[in-house]
């Protein structure tokens, strides 16, 4: 009888706890999830649609040119009757490829230059930073146009053009970070512990700046996509038969004046939406690597 009175397993919690979590956390999570979903959708679309969908993006149908969005062509058709949804996906694929390739190149160059300048110091630092200043003093687009003009139109000249105009900011960020780290006592401790210059750079400095550099790289992808679009829009980037978001908008210019909005709107959206999604994800990531109150969180 008395047996079924269970012994209290743990002291009952009599304390009334009050939470402090700011209410905006929930919308933040939603924003991050939306961004992640959109980025995932973008990546899946450009990776899966071309091999899975057996449709030719170049299929011309002059009988159905400049049709507004319909069930058959959700985004409408362009001035030679090509399906715009398909063209947009292929365009996004090219633009994203250019963006990622250019951002990676720019980040590698920028990190190398910035780390070298910061870690070596002295005249090497001054010389490298003068090069950076010189490049920065020329307007990006102008320099980009100049570089593209030296090659035959194609994807790689655009990548090079965008990369060469975008490594500067990364170099500056990385150099500043290295300089601030270099004066930390833990570098002194490493030197005193017998670490070589190379070991200090590879073991202590570089890993500390990599999150920064990677963040800069991610943020640079949309930047590079816009740069590509700008070049293509000016007719200097990719040849018009290669669908990129820039070339799509460029060819649609004429029809916009005639009241046909869809050939401009949809490529534009394809440019803006991934940009915002990537920036949203990068922002969340930045909050993770630079939490303002890390020490408080950790007591």
């Amino acid at each position: 009888m008395t047996c079924d009175a269970p012994a209290p397993a743990a002291a009952p919690e009599t304390t009334q706890w009050r939470s402090y979590g700011p209410k905006r956390r929930s919308t933040r999570a939603l924003r991050v999830r939306t961004s992640a979903a959109l980025v995932a959708a973008t990546v899946l679309a450009v990776l899966l649609v071309p091999p899975l969908v057996q449709l030719d993006q170049q299929a011309v149908d002059l009988a159905a040119k400049l049709r507004p969005p319909s069930f058959q062509h959700p985004f409408g058709t362009d001035d030679v009757g090509r399906d715009l949804l398909l063209r947009c996906v292929y365009g996004l694929r090219v633009s994203l490829l250019v963006g990622v390739a250019a951002a990676l190149t720019a980040t590698v160059v920028g990190t190398a230059v910035g780390a070298a300048a910061g870690a070596l110091g002295g005249w090497a630092d001054r010389a490298l930073m003068r090069v950076v200043d010189t490049f920065s003093s020329v307007p990006h687009l102008l320099l980009g146009i100049f570089i593209v003009a030296m090659f035959r139109p194609g994807v790689w000249p655009v990548v090079i053009s965008v990369a060469l105009t975008h490594w500067l900011s990364t170099a500056r960020i990385v150099r500043a970070e290295v300089l601030s780290l270099r004066s930390r006592p833990y570098i002194d401790a490493a030197v005193s512990g017998g670490a070589s210059r190379w070991r200090v750079a590879v073991r202590h400095l570089l890993p500390a700046v990599l999150p920064q550099a990677a963040l800069a790289a991610v943020l640079m992808v949309p930047h590079a996509m816009w740069h590509e679009s700008a070049l293509s829009f000016l007719g200097l980037g990719l040849p018009t038969h290669t669908a990129s978001l820039g070339t799509l908008i460029q060819t649609a210019r004429g029809s916009l004046l005639a009241g046909q909005w869809w050939p401009t709107l949809f490529p534009g959206l394809f440019l803006i939406v991934p940009t915002l999604a990537i920036a949203g994800l990068a922002g969340a990531w930045r909050e993770r690597i630079h939490p303002r109150h890390r020490s408080e969180l950790m007591l």
Binding site: R184, P185, Y186, D188, A189, A190, V191, S192, G193, G194, A195, S196, R197, R199, V200, R203, H204, P207, A208, R294, S295, M298, L299
Partner: protein
């Protein structure tokens, strides 16, 4: 073993922080350098540990003048010194778990094989438990991190320890524990000590000899 002769040092060309300072540490001796904050004693400690090139003056290590500082100094000279700084938080690479933090000098000098043995010896000396060793700096308290920083300074068995305000940020008990660990090491190895600080009571209790910053130049 260490002699500083009329050292002048600083970070900008025309404003030396340390002016014409001389100080000697004999083998096995412990010297407390007492001075107010901001007087330049930390800079002198960095000069003494071959971490900062002075603008002028001579530094003699075992009677031989030192000509090179930081990376240019021969490795066995650099590693003759063990340094501990005031702010443990800034003295620890935030990415490295405490084990790696302590083992780093061994790995940097190509003695990675000794790591498990040395860690096993040193952890009890500085009072770190195995569970703490696997954590990263942001997961331990300032006191625990400073214990790891002391272990790192001892790992290469230095002949001279330079402790720059080692206990200034710590509570009394942790401070006493770290000083005891330093003294145990010195008793076992005969290493010398240069302890820099502003706490007269502490340095006079800790060191054989206490010198005042004002009396040095």
């Amino acid at each position: 073993m260490l002699e500083l002769r009329s050292i002048t040092a600083g970070y900008t060309r025309n404003a030396p922080v340390v002016r014409d300072v001389s100080l000697t540490v004999a083998p096995g001796e412990s010297v407390g350098l007492l001075g107010p904050s901001g007087c330049g004693k930390s800079t002198l400690a960095r000069v003494a540990a071959l971490l900062h090139r002075p603008d002028s003056g001579t530094l003699l290590l075992d009677g031989e003048p030192v000509r090179h500082w930081r990376h240019r100094a021969p490795r066995d000279r650099r590693t003759a010194f063990g340094v501990v700084f005031q702010q443990a938080r800034l003295s620890a690479d935030p990415r490295l778990p405490l084990t790696d933090l302590i083992a780093e000098p061994l790995r940097a000098t190509g003695r990675g094989r000794e790591v498990p043995d040395r860690i096993a010896q040193l952890a009890p000396v500085v009072g770190l438990t195995p569970d703490l060793l696997t954590r990263r700096p942001h997961e331990v308290s300032d006191g625990q991190l400073q214990r790891a920083c002391l272990a790192r300074a001892l790992v290469l068995r230095p002949r001279l320890l330079v402790c720059d305000e080692m206990t200034a940020m710590l509570d009394a008990s942790t401070a006493a524990a770290l000083v005891a660990a330093v003294e145990d090491y010195r008793a076992a190895t005969g290493a010398a000590l240069l302890a820099v600080g502003h706490d007269r009571t502490l340095l006079e209790r800790w060191c054989d000899r206490t010198v005042h910053w004002e009396s040095l130049s």
